[in-house]
Every structure is written in C-alpha cells, then in structure tokens.
Amino acid sequence: MSKKKNRTGNSGDLIKNIGERLSGEKENNSPRDNKNTVEDEEKDKSNDIEKESSDPDNREDKFKSKENNTPQDKWNDKQEPYRSSFIIKPDMEDNFDNCKKIFRKQLRMNLSKQNAIELGWLLLKNLDDKYFEEVKATSSPDDDLIKELKKVINEYF
C-alpha cells in the first residue's frame, strides 16, 4: 500500500479539534441549546428596556428605592431614557441565533466594563481635588457616598 494514500496523516484529527473549538466559540456567542431560556431572558430584557424608556416614573421609582427613599435626587432626571438602537429586521426572524448575538453586542457596546472604567478614570482625572475633599467631609462611607458623588458629577458638568 502506498504511503501517499494517507497524505493528510493526523491532520484530520487536528482539523476536527480546531473545528470543534471554532464552533464552540460560535456557540458561546449564541448558545443553541438554551434557546428557550435565553429567548425568555432577552424578552424580559427587551420588556424592561421598553418599560424604562416609556415610563420615566417607573424608572424614577426604581432609582428611589435603591437609595432607601432618600429625598429625590434630580441627577438622573435630565438623562435621556435608555434606548437601544437594536432593530429587529425581517431576516433576523428567520435567524434567531444571529438576532440574539447582535442584541447582546448592542448591550455590551452601550457601556462595557472597559467603558465604565475609562469613564471613571476620566472623571477622576478631570475633577478637582477640592470636590473630593467635600465628599469626604460630608458623606458617610456607605450609600451616601454614591449620592454625594452624583451631586459632584452633576455640579461639575
């Protein structure tokens, strides 16, 4: 038997392994096996976003409850309600996995962890030290600090 009959040798196994990793990568981005769970989760997310966008009072209530019903903080009032630019196109309905993937990407793009860190870094860099002295002097180390920081940011901008 000619050796040349097995030209690719063990390459077939290698290709198979790599192929599995590549398809695993795809599945990580859009898991097919959790279709119902993820679908429900995203429906919930979309509903939440829609609710928050269309009902500013509801958003404000949520905000208040987080701050233990402290006096109303107007810091967030001037902010535009969050609206995703995600639009379901007709072809996405036929390709649900792709649709999910794009939706996730949109959410991540709006404020990723890296963005948050950079935003924080930018604020720290630009705020004068005197503001921080004020915060230290007037706030408790717990929840109040967040409120006070919001005030400072509001004042600064």
Binding site: R7, I15, L22, E25, R108, Q114
Partner: protein, 259 residues
C-alpha cells in the same frame, strides 16, 4: 463607526501582509474608507506601500508608549484614494520589553484608537507580527474580528491551535466582543492533492468559520510585492486580484449581516 479586523497567525509566511494589503485595497475599491495599521516590526507592509519607516518623526511605537500622542497624527495617506496607513517602526522589535511592564499593556492600542478616528474609516485592518506577543494581543484587544490566513498544511494547523488559546484568553479577559470572522486558506495549489484534501477537511469541520474565497497560489501576487504594488495595481486581471476582490465582498457581506 469602523470595523476593526486583525489579520493574525503566529506562523510566518502565510500571507498576512499580502492579505492585509490586497484586502485593504479591494475594500477601498469597493468605496470603503480603509486604514491599515502595520504592527509587524519587519515593516513589510509599510515598505511595500513606499514608506521609509526610518524617516518618521513620530511612530506607532511612540503612540503606544505615550498616551498624549494621538494615533491620528501618524496616519499617512497613500496614493490610492480611500486607503491610509499607520506605518510600522523599527522600535516595535523592543515592544515586548518596553510594554510588558506597563499596566494595561494589552490595551495600549485600543485606548489610542479614538472614536473620531473610528468615525473616519469604514475598516481598520491590522497586520500582526508572526508571534503571539504583546503586539498581537494589543491588536486582538482593539479588534472586532479576526481573520486567520493559513496554508492548507499541517504546520498551519498547529499554529491555529495555539492562536485559538490566545484568542480565547483575550476574549475572556479583555475584549468580549472579539469574534473570529474566518480562516482564510492561502497559497492553495490546486495541483497538490494534499492541499485539495486538507481544504476539503477544513471546509467540512470549520463550516461557517472558513471563508468561501480561497487565495490560490499566484506568481503575480509575489511579482506585485516586488514592485511595491498590490496585485490590483500590478495586474488587475490576475487570479490573485479576483480572489482578493471576492474576499472583500465576503468581508463586507459578513459585517453588514452582523450590523
């Protein structure tokens, strides 16, 4: 907003630079505004595009080293409309030593690509060095997609296995948006049974993660390099030109589908 694509494979001589140059040109021919970034200390892409890398005042190395220097300030226009380049620098050979000590050394490039720069281009293509060091990690951190050129031979497969590990780490730790656009089979010689069989298996197992376009072995591609030109400029009728135009169409289609 631009789409950033790294052309990566730590194996040398698989067609990273040729693919970056010709794909960039083909995309610009399709009306897309393209910026090429040469991160390879060998500087082949920059040299092929007629840039004297030793004569630069400020370089990509200075930008990565100093946050104050904007990336936009070192962009060079090329003779071709819609195609600009950030050239490589000799100092990049010392990047490992220089940057490894820095905090966030993996995100130096992504930090330097400003939003205004992203708005100026449709595609940013990064030509990576043949290693999985700090420069490649920076490229992956700054990218939306990865294209992996490979020859349909066994050493190319070993390389991809190692690259996938780095890719997975970057995706997990630094850039969750990173995605493999596809493996690009290059230097395919249809006369070789080995290449035929390997390509069949790659298509079978990689499925959607391999480009339909195959870059076939083509002397014109090498002749074009010798003349510091893309294959389109050297001989637009050559098979290489058709292959890269087809790749550009596939890339545009992929990105539009994702959007």
């Amino acid at each position: 907003m631009s789409t950033t694509v790294s052309i990566v494979n730590q194996k040398g001589g698989v067609g990273k630079t040729t693919s970056t140059h010709n794909l960039g040109y083909a995309l610009s021919e399709k009306g897309k505004k393209v910026l090429l970034i040469d991160l390879d200390p060998q500087m082949n892409l920059s040299t092929t595009m007629g840039i004297d890398c030793y004569a630069q005042t400020n370089t990509i190395f200075d930008v990565l080293k100093d946050k104050g220097l904007p990336l936009g300030s070192i962009i060079k226009e090329t003779s071709h409309k819609n195609l600009d380049i950030i050239p490589a620098a000799f100092e990049l050979t010392g990047a490992e030593l220089e940057f490894a000590r820095k905090i966030n050394s993996a995100s130096l490039l992504s930090r330097s690509i400003s939003n205004s720069l992203k708005d100026d281009y449709d595609f940013i293509l990064i030509d990576c060095p043949p290693s999985l060091g700090i420069l490649t990690i920076n490229a992956l951190s700054a990218s939306d997609y990865v294209i992996i050129p490979m020859q349909p031979e066994v050493y190319g497969l070993y390389g991809i296995e190692m690259l996938l590990s780095t890719y997975e780490e970057v995706q997990e730790e630094i850039n969750g948006n990173l995605e493999i656009m596809g493996v690009l089979i290059t230097m395919h010689d249809a006369r070789l049974s080995l290449h035929k069989e390997m390509t069949e298996k790659i298509n079978e197992y990689f499925k959607k993660k391999v480009f339909k376009t195959i870059i076939k072995t083509n002397t014109t591609l090498k002749e074009a390099q010798s003349n510091n030109q893309t294959v389109f400029e050297y001989d637009g009728r050559a098979r290489g030109a058709k292959n890269y135009m087809s790749l550009a169409e596939e890339v545009i289609k992929y990105v539009e589908k994702e959007e």
